[in-house]
């Protein structure tokens, strides 16, 4: 499936590891939260990039203070209507100090990309082949935002204050 990272089609160097698959000696792997819990020390001490894939029901606090030690967190959207991942993403970024790749996977639609981008996702597994064009379009559709989120976009209320201060 095409992967967009930071606005470009990107290769995916990560291996998604099934829970019963043998842990390869090298290479970046993504494991489930359950597997992470049982093999936490081994995984951290492997000397290779580590990622976790969260189900939509697995909330940010379940990774908690381990977040800064991870290189990637993938959050699953089993269906676009399930919006828990937006809170999970914001909390991982804003509360738990996660700075690695935050990847949206599952039912990721172009009309959701802006919301996801605003909540701190920087990578998206998308279905559509014209993904990058759609991604760029989705992100350019709005220039006014009414609330602060994880991104750096300046909310309208601050733009108003800034404009007033400048005049």
């Amino acid at each position: 499936m095409p992967l967009i990272r930071n606005g470009r089609l990107a290769d995916d160097p990560w291996t998604a590891l099934a829970d019963d698959a043998e842990l390869p000696p090298t290479g970046a792997v993504i494991v489930s939260l359950a597997r992470f819990r049982t093999e936490r020390e081994v995984l951290f001490n492997r000397g290779a990039p580590l990622g976790i894939r969260l189900k939509s029901s697995e909330l940010a606090s379940e990774i908690g203070a381990d977040a800064p030690r991870l290189d990637l967190i993938a959050i699953d959207f089993p269906v676009f209507r399930d919006g828990r991942g937006y809170s999970t993403a914001r909390l991982l970024r804003e509360r738990w100090g996660f700075a690695g790749e935050l990847r949206a996977v599952g039912n990721v639609l172009r009309d959701q990309l802006l919301f996801m981008d605003r909540c701190g996702f920087d990578a998206f597994e998308v279905e559509s082949p014209d993904a990058v064009a759609a991604w760029e379009k989705a992100l350019a559709e709005f220039s006014v935002f009414y609330q602060p989120a994880t991104d750096a976009r300046v909310p309208a209320r601050l733009q108003r204050l800034q404009r007033r201060a400048a005049s």
């Binding site: 399930d82 919006g83 999970t88 909540c119 609330q147 209320r157």
Partner: protein
């Protein structure tokens, strides 16, 4: 009232462009109806029994004359010449063509309106007391708070895919005309012990199949923390609200299942992390918004207009209308005027394009250019000089807008029901019309006194039957329409859910049953008691016995 600046204007214009693109993709078949559905729902566009329905947001129920004229124009140009005002202070058009909807939205944007968040599992259009800025008992105009919330919630990136829809209502007065206790979040503007103005925050109220009265999460929230507190509640709901069962997904179920104490603990814990952060709205921005809601320049007048007093004495029809339609204004010499959209035998909440134009015109001439939509599906002119009431009444009367039945038995709320809605079990509008005709004698209606009848065509309760003094709920019994009656519901600060009286009535019998209930009340009432007071004094039993007694 609030005016868009360049940022607001840009935002709605971009929204229209986005939707135009989505509609184009749908019309050429690039999007299936399934894929298009969530997109159109984010713009208030439903697919109903016979056609698309567009629900346009009227934030906190406030309209200018210019906006009202635009609504009339849309009704005329894109619909069948009328619109339908809803229990959420919005307006619905029942017959727009899909290809026209982007143009309608563009026309709305021209008058600073939109259809954003009038559907979908997001924070819906915020509602407020229709007497905002005019009522004598108001602590503060709730529209300031409501506008802050409207902006914050607009395309909120974290809260646009909640477990279920999310409704917020605000009241600025102790007498609750916004039904805040039956909203997902209800906000009461209150004065703290030391006189400071802040918010009491309720959560978990709602109607639908599991009606609940909202519970207090925080008795006093200082004003600067409004948005962090709301964000904390929404986040707890987004994370923990049920998603396994659509019927258990509203926040009321979460509050009920974990208990208000545990719910409050989670909210407060979340709040500790985010209070005072960038989410809060800066004071200067609040002042900017508040300035739009500054009171109009009222004339200094005596508290009572002599002309108005005299006209009531000499014209009984006018006196009757005045008694039903007026509400005390905070400014001496002024009155709040309610315009009934419940003509005898009519469809509750419908207004023709001509009526909308006339009301816009009257608002301009008599009411500082403002109209309000009430959650009881009527309209209000919030600031009218008592001296002008007689002339206003004559013009309303000529337009068929002076039915003197506000708050009476024929001021009925009804959802669209089986005439439009694909979820309906039964018709609601024709029942309202038949009851209205049955009690068509206005003097008699006044003798019966305040009586709120509310009708829903199914358990989703869009017609608020749970909080009707008499609630009527359409149910389906083996393909036949039946109606359950509930008594004693109340949407105000003494909120209560109605109790089921007994077995349901058929379509042809329900109006008789309602009439019987009214007669029973008249037989039981003591001096000055409203239906609700009598019911509260005597309880369900006497009503039940007499209603089902063999005749």
């Amino acid at each position: 009232m609030y005016r868009y600046d360049e940022f607001d204007q840009t935002f709605v214009a971009q929204r229209v462009a986005q939707f135009r693109d989505q509609v184009a993709r749908r019309l050429v078949g690039e999007l299936t109806e399934d894929e298009f559905r969530p997109l159109r729902l984010m713009n208030g566009l439903y697919l109903q029994l016979h056609a698309y329905m567009l629900r346009v947001a009227v934030p906190y129920g406030t309209l200018s004359s210019r906006q009202m004229r635009k609504l009339a124009h849309i009704a005329r140009r894109y619909d069948k010449g009328y619109g339908h005002f809803t229990t959420r202070q919005n307006i619905q058009y029942n017959w727009p063509a899909l290809k026209d909807v982007p143009d309608i939205l563009m026309e709305l944007a021209e008058v600073e309106m939109h259809a954003l968040q009038t559907s979908g599992n997001c924070i819906r259009n915020v509602t407020a007391d229709q007497y905002s800025g005019a009522a004598a008992d108001e602590i503060e105009d709730p529209r300031i708070c409501a506008e802050v919330i409207r902006q914050w919630s607009s395309l909120h990136p974290e809260f646009s895919f909640l477990p279920r829809k999310f409704k917020v209502a605000v009241t600025g007065a102790p007498h609750d005309r916004a039904a805040v206790a039956v909203h997902d979040i209800g906000i009461r503007i209150v004065r703290g012990d030391d006189g400071e103005v802040g918010y009491a925050v309720l959560a978990g109220g709602g109607q639908g199949r599991t009606p609940m009265i909202g519970k207090t999460v925080r008795a006093f929230l200082p004003k600067p923390y409004l948005l962090s507190y709301l964000e904390a509640i929404l986040r707890v709901y987004n994370e923990f609200g049920r998603r396994d069962n659509m019927f258990k997904a509203r926040i009321k179920i979460l509050v009920h299942e974990v208990g208000i104490d545990e719910f409050r603990r989670r909210v407060e814990e979340e709040w500790e992390h985010i209070r005072g952060t960038a989410v809060e709205v800066p004071e200067e921005e609040v002042r900017r918004i508040a300035s739009y809601f500054a009171p109009p320049t009222f004339a200094r007048l005596p508290a009572v207009s002599e002309g108005f007093e005299r006209q009531q004495r000499t014209d009984a029809q006018f006196a009757l209308w005045a008694r039903a339609s007026l509400h005390p204004h905070k400014q001496p010499g002024y009155a709040i005027v309610n315009i009934s959209l419940k003509p005898i035998g009519g469809v509750p909440g419908d207004a023709t394009a001509e009526q909308m134009d006339i009301i816009a015109d009257l608002a301009e001439r008599y009411a500082f250019d403002e109209v309000r939509v009430t959650h009881e599906q009527n309209l209000t002119l919030p600031h009218v000089r008592q001296d002008d009431l007689y002339a206003l009444w004559q013009e309303l009367d000529a337009a068929g807008l002076a039915t003197a039945n506000i708050n009476t038995v024929t001021d009925i709320i009804a959802c669209p029901g089986l005439d439009y809605c694909n979820l309906a079990n039964a018709r609601a509008i024709p029942i309202a019309q038949k009851i209205s005709e049955r009690f068509g004698d206005i003097e008699q209606a006044h003798d019966i006194g305040e009586l709120k009848i509310k009708i829903s065509g199914c358990i989703n309760a869009c017609g608020h039957h749970h909080v009707g003094h008499i609630g009527i709920l359409g149910v389906d019994k083996k393909g036949v329409e039946f109606y359950q009656l509930t008594l004693g519901g109340d949407a105000t600060e003494t909120a209560a859910l109605g109790e089921l009286v007994g077995p349901a009535f058929g379509y042809d019998d329900v109006v008789d049953a309602v009439e019987k209930l009214v007669r029973i009340y008249l037989g039981l009432r003591q001096e000055n008691e409203r239906f609700l007071d009598t019911y509260r004094r005597v309880g369900l039993q006497p009503f039940k016995e007499k209603l089902y007694a063999a005749h």
